[in-house]
């Protein structure tokens, strides 16, 4: 499309401003986490900068507990929702079957549903089944929300799956199991790895679903929320920044995989 230089500059300026506003809260949290004072006020002199809240946060056994619970929830959620997502992506994008259209709509339903209400509904369901909520019941709640997302991510690649490869393997006498493990899974592997990262990240940051479904075990976002609503504590921004850093590591892995697969597929198209 033809755009003049001024138009492009205008759009760039707009995008830049939006990004600045977008990252303003992150900047605020970092500033607050480095302030030595118990009651934050801005600006503070440079000699009052400290990393002691980070040390406190890392040393705190309480924080470690919440991190452990959040990690356990994220791990279980990721494994289960990627396995379920793999098969439902095949049903979504690859196979022709009778209920496919309805299924495709059904997959989206949990995404278009208010999460806090879903969490509550699960709480009542556990109560009805006489299950005491704990970290693994929160993982079920996260899975209900994240499995549709992993399905969609893997589906995008499953649409591009070359059916002739599977057919060729079948013609040469490969069993269904062999086709699955030697052809389908390796071909969809990049999407499955991105889906795993997505699942871990979304579960790690989720609050609305955890709020009602973790029972006595509290996840990290819940702990932060409880501290935030009861007044300022300097530990909160420090833990917040640390939690962001964990997320950033996964984001880097995720984007690395995405650009790697993009380059690979471009190469394979070029070589044809």
């Amino acid at each position: 499309m033809i755009v003049t230089r001024t138009q492009k500059a205008g759009f760039s300026l707009y995008a830049g401003l939006l990004l600045l506003v977008f990252y303003f809260p992150v900047f605020c949290i970092i500033v607050a986490s480095l302030s030595e004072r118990r009651f934050f006020s801005f600006p503070y002199p440079a000699e009052m900068m400290t990393t002691k809240w980070y040390e406190n946060a890392i040393d705190s056994p309480q924080v470690a507990d919440f991190v452990g619970i959040s990690l356990r929830i994220a791990g279980l959620t990721a494994v289960v929702s990627v396995i379920i997502g793999f098969f439902s992506a095949l049903a979504y994008a690859r196979y022709r079957w009778k209920g496919r259209k309805t299924f495709q709509r059904l997959v989206l339903l949990p995404l278009f549903f208010p999460q806090s209400v879903l969490g509550l509904a699960l709480l009542m369901w556990y109560n009805f089944l006489n299950i005491t909520p704990a970290w693994w019941t929160a993982a079920i709640a996260h899975t209900v929300w994240i499995a549709p997302i992993t399905t969609l991510i893997i589906s995008i690649q499953a649409y591009g799956l070359d059916e002739s490869l599977e057919e060729a393997a079948r013609d040469m006498g490969a069993s269904r199991w062999q086709i699955l493990t030697k052809i389908t899974i390796p071909l969809l592997m990049p999407a499955m790895i991105s889906a795993t990262c997505f699942a871990i990240l979304l579960s790690w940051g989720n609050f609305a679903l955890s709020l009602f479904t973790t029972g006595a075990d509290s996840a990290l976002p819940e702990w932060l929320y409880a501290r935030m609503t009861t007044g300022y504590q300097p530990l909160v921004p420090a833990v917040g920044v640390l939690s962001v850093m964990v997320a950033v590591v996964f984001v880097i892995i995720l984007f690395g995989i995405i650009s790697w697969t993009n380059r690979k597929s471009r190469k394979s198209i070029a070589s044809h």
Binding site: F42, L106, P110, V117, L118, A121, A147, Y159, L224, F255
Partner: protein, 292 residues
């Protein structure tokens, strides 16, 4: 020779439904059953935790006699405001990402996607630090411009700011997908035939990117109507939304049946909006699959 019967059994149709089974089971036991549980619990007498009693409509009477409709209206108003503001903010940016920027578009996309993975509480707390008394904004104004301001928190515009901020990615990316579907030659043809920018926007851009606009608006609407944290963290107790009303019934008030009845009303309201919108267009188009 006829293929053995099991081969037919594993034909293309069945393998599809077999692969869908784990997901369908998850939905049955993790989504449908809990929702039925909520609806049924809403019919139980108030302040019980038992599910096996004679159903009654008492909770619904309470809802309509008391002021709960107020919090429903607040939630609706906040959600609609968020959707409208986000449409206005995001459309130009989405247009730039889809049609104008090259490498820069990826950078913006990554920068915004990354924020999705940070707990929304942490991001909202950043605004609290920015806007509280002697916070980043107030402190800067006092020190360098000699303007004294009190806390900017705990009012309705700040709640809307929080919701706009948290749900921006959910509007932006569907819009980008939608705008990418506009074929450039159509726009160029319109310009060649003398249409001005506004006409092209009204007659070509907007209608052709409608699926993205609808999906984005719907996602943002559903997410923000169920929002809890924004009104609590940024809004103090200024506005009580339906979601925090429901939360109160389940925590402090310990009135699960009333909370369930409220949830049922809330779900019904949301679902009506979602189904009305979803039934109007084909979703497969947005995922890049040409309609088969």
């Amino acid at each position: 020779m006829n293929p053995p019967f099991w081969k037919k059994f594993f034909g293309p149709g069945l393998i599809g439904s077999l692969s869908a089974t784990p997901f369908l089971l998850l939905m049955l036991f993790g989504f449908v059953a809990p929702l039925l549980c909520v609806v049924w619990f809403g019919l139980m007498p108030p302040k019980t935790f038992e599910l096996l009693q004679a159903p009654t409509l008492e909770n619904y009477r309470t809802i309509f006699e008391q002021t709960y409709f107020k919090s429903i209206l607040w939630s609706l108003a906040l959600a609609v405001a968020t959707v409208i503001i986000l449409l206005i903010i995001c459309y130009p940016l989405a247009f730039a990402i889809a049609k104008i920027f090259r490498g820069g578009g990826y950078f913006i996309t990554y920068a915004i996607v990354t924020s999705l993975f940070v707990s929304e509480n942490i991001r909202l707390f950043g605004w609290v630090i920015g806007f509280m008394k002697n916070g980043v904004v107030g402190g800067t104004l006092a020190k360098y411009f000699d303007i004294q301001i009190d806390s900017l928190l705990y009012n309705i515009p700040v709640i809307i700011l929080g919701m706009v901020y948290v749900y921006l990615p959910f509007m932006l990316f569907p819009l980008v997908l939608g705008i990418k579907m506009i074929p450039d030659p159509v726009r160029e043809a319109a310009f060649d035939m003398g249409a001005n920018r506004w006409q092209v926007f009204r007659k070509i851009d907007l209608p052709l990117s409608m699926p993205g606009v609808m999906i984005g608006s719907l996602l943002v609407f559903v997410l923000s109507i169920g929002a809890i944290s924004e009104a609590k963290i940024l809004g103090g107790q200024k506005v009580v939304t339906i979601a925090s009303d429901i939360e109160t019934e389940f925590t402090y008030a310990q009135n699960w049946p009333l909370g369930s009845a409220l949830s049922t009303v809330f779900i019904a309201l949301t679902m009506v909006v979602v189904f009305l919108t979803l039934s109007r267009f084909d979703l497969e188009k947005l995922l890049g699959k040409k309609s088969s």
